[in-house]
């Protein structure tokens, strides 16, 4: 078993791991000859299945992989990997390899950091500048003697990330969720904007319930006794598990370019509507014209406006905080296609920009809809 590669784009790799780490700690990383797969399946909340071509983050000319099963399955704490990758930012040369130390398998990240020194520094071991003093292990020790004038100094930093090797049989049972054909697919607007509005809504709903003082309300207040949002969430405790009843956002879309984000509480109903978004056409290479025309989304697309603006909407209810974590992928400024399976699930296909050779990096997020 052997894995060794140079990093091609440590910045993207680091942003990617940062976004993934917000969803869960334990990441199944599967190294294959052509693609690297990252999978996070948290106890609750959103699952993500990412498939990144080797060349997107690694330098494929130096990529070496040897395994009996043609793949290496690793379990890694993704936030530890992310922290390690931060030291590789802006470095010209960084290498990731699979190694072993006292029988513990490790991913070793070696970074060549260049910095400009003012000179006259007796000791040049600034390796723990990045806050990872314990892990650092300068590989060839930096040349500290000799002339002490100002010069560029190179430091080798090696960070060791403990991992588990998963046997092929351990991952056999893991499959991507299977979803019915979506009713609506639509390209999401700017994720940063969507995230800031979503966060505001979540905050509105949570400050609302927090700061409620029964004494302040007038007793004859209309609508006070209607079913509250948080109350209904409690009914679905079986689904919600321990999602600490954070507010649920209602996200809906249609095949005519509209996306609607809404939340309701005792005190207010608020909704943002985006219009003129794109409902992307399906790839005709994937299926026949006839098959395609039977898809619920294509049926919805053909619905005429005569059926009313309210027709053909598909709706899901999602956890506000979880949604916000999902949207953190926005830092990679991807193109996101959202697929709505009405009242059941939301599947996001996140395509990272800057693909080479037409290979597509795709992250797939599976978000369950909460029932009312």
């Amino acid at each position: 078993m052997r894995f060794r590669t140079q990093l091609r784009d440590s910045r993207t790799f680091s942003k990617l791991t940062a976004s993934l780490s917000s969803l869960g700690k334990v990441c199944w990383m599967r190294l294959e000859y052509e693609v690297i797969r990252f999978t996070i399946i948290p106890d609750q909340g959103t699952q993500v299945w990412a498939s990144i071509p080797v060349g997107t983050i690694f330098d494929d000319t130096t990529y070496e992989l040897e395994s009996n099963s043609d793949a290496i399955n690793i379990e890694v704490n993704i936030s530890v990997l992310n922290r390690a990758l931060r030291s590789a930012w802006g470095s010209t040369h960084s290498q990731l390899r699979l190694t072993k130390k006292d029988k513990t398998p490790l991913l070793a990240l070696t970074v060549l950091a260049s910095e400009w020194t003012e000179g006259n520094m007796a000791l040049a071991t600034n390796n723990d500048e990045d806050g990872f003093g314990d892990d650092t292990n300068p590989e060839p020790p930096a040349d500290t003697t000799g002339d002490r004038g100002p010069r560029e100094r190179q430091t080798w930093i090696t960070q060791e990330i403990p991992i588990k090797i998963l046997h092929e049989s351990a991952v056999e049972g893991l499959h991507e969720p299977h979803c019915p054909d979506p009713e609506v697919h639509i390209i999401l607007p700017n994720l940063a904007q969507l995230k800031s509005i979503s966060d505001r809504f979540t905050k509105l709903a949570s400050t609302d319930s927090k700061s409620r003082q029964p004494g302040v309300m007038a007793p004859e207040a209309p609508g006070m006794h209607s079913v509250s949002f948080s109350g209904s969430a409690a009914n679905t405790a079986a689904t919600a598990l321990s999602t600490n009843s954070s507010p649920k956002l209602e996200l809906s879309a249609n095949m005519h370019g509209s996306l609607r984000l809404a939340i309701a509480t005792d005190e207010l109903r608020i909704a943002s509507v985006w219009s003129d978004l794109v409902n992307p056409p399906l790839d005709p290479a994937q299926m026949t014209q006839e098959q395609m025309s039977q898809l619920p989304s294509e049926l919805n697309r053909r619905r005429e406006a005569s059926e009313g603006f309210e027709s053909g909407w598909a709706k899901v209810r999602i956890d506000g905080k979880d949604w916000s974590r999902v949207l953190s992928i926005g830092r990679l400024s991807p193109k996101v296609v959202a697929c709505f399976v009405n009242e059941m699930a939301l599947v996001l296909y996140v395509y990272l920009p800057g693909n080479r050779d037409g290979e597509e990096s795709c992250l797939t997020y599976y978000i369950n809809s909460f029932t009312t």
Binding site: P189, Q193, S196, I197, R200, K203, L204, T207, D208, S211, R212, Q213, V216, M217, A218, E220, A221, P222, G223, M224, D266, E267, L268, R269, I270, A271, S272, V273, W274, S275, D276
Partner: protein, 391 residues
Amino acid sequence: MEPLFAGVSNNAHHLYTLLSCIGFAHKATVQITPDGLRFSVEEGRVIQGLAFLDKSLFTSYTFNPSTNSEPNNQNGTSQDDNESSQNGPYPHFVVSLSAILETLKIFGINELSESNRPRDTSITQTGIASSSAFNAPALLMDRSCTLQYAQHGAPLSITITEAGVKTTCELVTYEPDENEADIPLQRDAIIMKIIMRSVWLHNAIAELDSSTPTILKLSACAKQEPYFALSGAGGPFSESTVEFSVDQNNEIAGGAGHGTTQSQMHKVLFDDGSSRARATRAKLAPTVTETFLVSPPSSMGERIQQSYRFALIRKAARAMSVANKVSIRGDRQGVLSLQFMVELDDHNVPVGRPVGAGVKGPNGPVCFVDFRFVPLLDEEEAEMVMDAQVE
């Protein structure tokens, strides 16, 4: 059907600035008048905050009262003093003020400043008024914010439109508590009226606040020193006092030269090392006051002395930091009124912008935010000091 009220603003920033001044309470009572919207908040019947959104803040303001047959004389006073009666013929209702503020923030006006409202802690005059040069003013161009109240009992809706997104918030309106009344300020029995720049009051309160007092003592006298002093008492530390006294050496210009006096004032307040810990002697002046009228009735002696709960005064800190000037008034019963004049700045809007109706001259519209405080009675005061000592 034509709505009872609709107002369109292209600068939700202004609405946010004014309403955030009274953001200390969760719920606000709103009254719609022909001259603007009056937002009132209160807590425990001892503090009341009033913000008046003058109709000049809106590019379009339509109000169609169905029962507006009787003429009323509120027009003059409401704009001047927010003095209109709460139970007038105009529609009034209770809504969630925190939800309004949160919704107005969607307008993207507040992204760069604080995420939470650090009203109580901001000592310097930062606040919302000092918008940064990095606020993208161009983004404000094609935005609009519409407030609408269709009819009695309908929700108050706020619609925010900006590039490609339309956000609508419908706030449930509640019946106001019939017993709710304004804290009465006896306008014919005003015995004290002091007008000065708000930043000085803010600095003084912030200074006193550092010793965590429970009581604010106000002392004013026209004849002898200290002419005007604020003390913080009842805290775990000793009492500290900020005096605004007359400067004998410098020219006594009674309010002239704001620019220079301001910098001197800062010096007096913060310069000498001991000022943090104990009493600060401000040598410069009711030079800082523009108006200084103290005329207690003969029964009270020459000096007006009243105490207020410090925690309540602190709730006006946001208004102090945002406002330009403050008028400090007290009536014979000791009710304290702080009336803040807020000059809404337009300098985050590019020059040459087609100014709306709300813009009066280059400085933007001027609005008022009012606070009223019920004084502490002597027994209450003693009790609070006792409590503080027990702690």
